[in-house]
């Protein structure tokens, strides 16, 4: 498949407005502005575009739910909080192709009748934000944003909002809370943001990559988009591949491409002299797949059928030097640290799980700890306000399911069975 989203990212000035304008920039927006907003929504629905932020929810449908009868303003909130471990695609898009995101935001605003798009960018991406600020000023100066967008008589603002380091701010209602100047803690749903979101007004929260797909749908048509991938999984997709592969990076491909192909061809396979042990296919929150489960298309539906989730398409490959208890412990540190603290099972349980895993990894675990891990995990999953709880329970559950013997070996031998000089990264570090 010819790249759509990343076609020009390696050109030195791909982020400049002038470059963008000579490569079909803002043509999708021009098309949209000539259409009725409702027709734009219908077109996005027909394209089958599904949200790229993690859940894969159809974007057109999300927009359709936005309350159009309200006397209140409506908003687009662009989710640029990208913090799911293993994910770095929005980072690339914003750094190298910021106008595509702006164009997407404007198309979204036109479709749902919003006059402001807030881009919530994670605080750590300040180097990216500076590029965005620069380019946004240029877009304003040339009439692509602000008053009278592209001479259409329609006004629409784009506002950059810097976060300050909180994974949970990526959850859509927590993002809204954070935009309102509060802690990034989720709200109870319903009401969904489409009915009552930012400042209690109807709001559509869309991921950066999702919005970046809109211009090409408008210019090339819904059918073109749908045909790029398997049924209900159309369009180009960015895959982030990291871990023990030879060429980690962002790769654009159709969702027809298999996970196997992505890891072994796109990313060059596992580093020399090693073999694949396990793969996390969709960011740290999803279950592990084993090497013999990878011959499936990397689509939302196929990966789910294989027993995991495509999530944010953050593929982490691990080779045989990796201790899976250590992996669970590393990820549990993340979840214990990032829990927003609103629900007791997630706030307390995450911390407990980390401490139990740490104890096992150090060789001080007991056999009963394995049941304890399962019990605590199962008392978090499905019992919390937001999907973070399910994600937090995943590392222990999925490693126990696939690598129980490794846990038992830790307990039996009273130490980590992986040789100390294999400990994460020494070989890899030497290879760089």
């Amino acid at each position: 498949m010819e790249p759509v989203l990343t076609k020009y990212v390696r050109e030195p000035n791909s982020f400049e407005l002038d470059f963008f304008l000579t490569h079909d920039g803002y043509q999708g927006l021009k098309k949209a502005l000539a259409m009725q907003p409702n027709d734009v929504i219908e077109m996005v629905k027909a394209s089958g575009l599904r949200g790229r932020g993690g859940a894969g929810f159809p974007t057109g449908m999300k927009w359709q739910f936005v309350d159009k009868k309200t006397p209140n303003p409506r908003y687009i909130a662009c989710n640029a909080d990208e913090s799911e471990p293993g994910t770095f695609k929005d980072h690339l898009l914003m750094e190298r192709n910021p106008h595509l995101m702006f164009e997407g935001c404007l198309i979204g605003c036109w479709a749902i009748g919003a006059k402001v798009a807030y881009i919530y960018i994670r605080g750590e991406f300040y180097h990216v934000q500076k590029i965005l600020e620069d380019q946004l000023a240029k877009a304003y100066a040339k009439g692509y944003a602000g008053k009278n967008v592209m001479g259409s008589g329609w006004d629409c603002d784009i506002v950059l909002h810097r976060g300050a380091g909180a994974y949970e701010a990526g959850e859509e209602t927590a993002l809204i809370e954070s935009l309102e100047g509060k802690r990034a803690q989720p709200r109870i749903k319903p009401p969904f943001p489409a009915v009552s979101g930012l400042y209690n007004c109807p709001t559509a929260v869309n991921n950066v990559e999702t919005l970046c797909n809109l211009p090409s749908i408008l210019t090339n048509g819904a059918e073109w988009f749908a045909r790029l991938g398997p049924e209900k999984n159309g369009g180009p997709k960015l895959f982030c591949i990291s871990g023990h592969v030879k060429k980690p990076g962002v790769y654009e491909a159709s969702m027809n491409t298999t996970l196997q192909d992505l890891i072994f061809n796109y990313a060059g396979g596992i580093r020399d002299g090693h073999r694949l042990k396990a793969v996390i296919p969709g960011g740290s929150s999803v279950p592990i797949l084993m090497p013999d489960q990878l011959d499936v298309p990397a689509s939302f539906d196929a990966v789910q059928k294989a027993g995991s989730m495509l999530g944010s398409a953050g593929i982490i490959a691990m080779d045989e030097t990796t201790c899976m208890v250590w992996v669970a412990k590393n990820l549990m540190h993340f979840y214990a640290h990032e829990s927003c603290g609103k629900c007791t099972p997630c706030r307390e349980g995450g911390d407990w799980l980390y401490k139990i895993l740490d104890r096992i990894e150090r060789g001080e675990g007991e056999v009963r700890d394995l049941d304890l891990l399962t019990s605590v995990s199962n008392n978090i999953a499905g019992k919390t306000l937001c999907a973070f709880g399910d994600a937090a329970a995943t590392p222990p559950l999925t490693t126990l399911k696939n690598f129980r013997a490794e846990y038992e070996a830790h307990i039996r031998e009273g130490r980590c069975p992986i040789p100390a000089d294999w400990r994460a990264g020494t070989a890899l570090a030497a290879a760089h």
């Binding site: 990212v9 390696r10 030195p12 990208e82 913090s83 799911e84 471990p85 293993g86 994910t87 770095f88 690339l92 750094e95 994670r122 605080g123 750590e124 991406f125 300040y126 180097h127 603002d157 506002v159 909002h161 810097r162 300050a164 380091g165 909180a166 994974y167 954070s178 309102e180 100047g181 509060k182 990034a184 400042y199 982030c240 591949i241 990291s242 871990g243 980690p248 990076g249 996390i280 740290s284 982490i316 990796t322 590393n330 990820l331 540190h333 993340f334 307390e348 349980g349 911390d351 407990w352 401490k355 019990s375 605590v376 008392n379 994460a424 990264g425 020494t426 890899l428 570090a429 760089h432």
Partner: protein, 200 residues
Amino acid sequence: MSFHPLMPYGEGWHKSDRIVAAEGQPFAFTPDRVRQLEEICGKYPPDRRKSAVLAALYFVQEQQGYLTANAMRHVAEFLRITPAEVEDVATYYVMFYRAPVGRYVLQVCRTLSCALGGAERVVEALSEKLGIKVGETDASGMFTLMEFECLGACDRAPVVMVNNEYWHERLTPENCSKFVDDIKVRGEAALSGCYLKVEN
């Protein structure tokens, strides 16, 4: 009492690490920052100045390095919200410092992809070189060492962010000593920068 029958709750398993902010010097934003901050407030609906609280706290940090009780009260006044609302936010987000930090804050990503690339050893090496533990500032006041969770550049593992802003990629344990020495001499210019900029 425990929420879970098998957890030794209350025996050192649950400790708050709350740092009460110091009073600090009297604080007021410089006229320049007042103007910039008013501009930022203007991007939100008029009765929603609170939306600018993160921006205001970043300005405090820029002006005096870390957050103090005086500064948070000033922010509250400026945004017409309560000091408690400001502290609520300031204690939640990890990029705000509530105690003095060194001139260069080394924020090493420790999450899975970086850890697979040797982040644990990078932290060890930096810790040894600087003679401090994670969370501490060295005697000269030049460096603070921190661990961060996934920075969103996992293909460049291990990644280090410096002062919430500047990046360095693929820092190997072997290079840590030189990395620190380089920063001492050349400051932020010693860092590799981020992402495709490194390749191009």
